[in-house]
Symmetry: C2
Subunit: 227 residues, 2 copies
């Protein structure tokens, strides 16, 4: 915060003296380098996984000394956090089209499919967000409710809110609980695929479909009584 305030103060002074072009350029360059660092870091993570992202390798890739990175980020974790935030925004963006579907019962499978697809298409990003460091994942939900984390969860909740509002669900049903169950299901499918790569199992897309239809309709043709 100190640095930001200082920069703002400098800008204001420059504006007052009628000479702010240089300060603007400097801040722009600073922001550009920060962005470049994040771009390269993302590339490394996507290609080799988060554990392979070392400050020295990253510094080499952006052609600066390792110490320079610390002028733009507090530490390695701060870089990871930023990548997490952006990764989660990508996930939310992937969910967005499916979230537009009007009928909640049609929306549900589309959302699940989109979620799982994102996880499988961006495994290292997904791992970074949900499976690397609890500190990273926790941070994505702890802060303001307008960030991608809570908003994504909200998209899931909305499905059941809509169903409930339309009188299509039993009164008293808690939409958040069902959303959490759904989330656990799709997250489970993705994360098991990403970790137990050797496990045979059915294709993730098919499994997602089975998950959704079972959650909606229950076990196929179930006879409750004893056999």
């Amino acid at each position: 915060m100190n640095a930001v305030h200082l920069l703002l103060a400098v800008q204001l002074v420059k504006a007052y003296t009628g000479n702010m072009g240089i300060a603007e350029r400097k801040e722009r360059q600073r922001a550009e380098l920060r962005e470049q660092i994040l771009r390269v870091a993302r590339d490394i993570v996507v290609k080799e996984g988060f554990p392979a992202l070392s400050m020295r390798k990253l510094a080499d890739a952006v052609e600066y000394a390792p110490a320079t990175l610390y002028l733009h980020f507090e530490n390695r974790e701060a870089i990871a956090k930023e990548l997490c935030v952006r990764g989660f925004q990508d996930l939310l963006a992937t969910l967005e089209p499916a979230a537009q579907v009007e009928d909640p019962l049609e929306r549900l499978p589309k959302l699940a499919e989109a979620y799982v697809r994102f996880g499988l298409e961006h495994p290292e990003t997904y791992r970074l967000i949900f499976m690397e460091d609890p500190k990273l994942s926790t941070a994505l939900f702890g802060d303001n409710p307008e960030s991608a984390g809570p908003r994504s969860f909200g998209v899931l909740v909305q499905v059941f809110v809509n169903l409930l509002a339309a009188g299509r669900l039993e009164a008293g049903t808690k939409p958040e609980q069902l959303a959490e169950v759904l989330w656990a299901g799709v997250h489970g499918i993705v994360s098991l695929r990403l970790t137990c790569t050797g496990f045979p199992g059915t294709p993730a897309e098919e499994l997602t479909q089975v998950l959704v239809t079972t959650l909606v309709k229950g076990l196929p043709g179930l006879k409750a009584g004893r056999a």
Copy 2:
């Protein structure tokens, strides 16, 4: 394998010469030290998490030089793998009582509850098995089908096999798929709890119940038609 063969050869020779007490003691001591290393390693992992398990700290704790550890394990990962195997055996043991329940529809919630309980009661063990290194998790399922990994999954499959055999499920239903969905669900619940610690949500036990009843009966009071 070489070392083992050598030891066997030595034992045989000793037996032939009528003097195998010493070789026995040596092997026993060797196995004891190996076991002690694993015990201490487990303690560290359970208390401080797998990332905190360093070879030097472990060597200090067992009062040997770091290099000595490499006489008993190929590397750090080999220790982790062994801890994984044993952790999974514990998980299977936790599932065992629930697996004994005769009625599959009663068994299902018990299994789910036991699974989730294990994950929450042994978070670092669960993390080690399923969330640290893909190589570790993969190894647990890749090898022989009698290991704890496939056997645990088999316990889940059995629920649906029994239902199907009793004619209580629609013919053509694939038990493995349903088991996988169930597994994804409970794993999702546990792993989200362990990573997104900040997320509020309903208690895991309640959520597990909702998951199971929804999977069995479908969405409560669902009206399929448009509102």
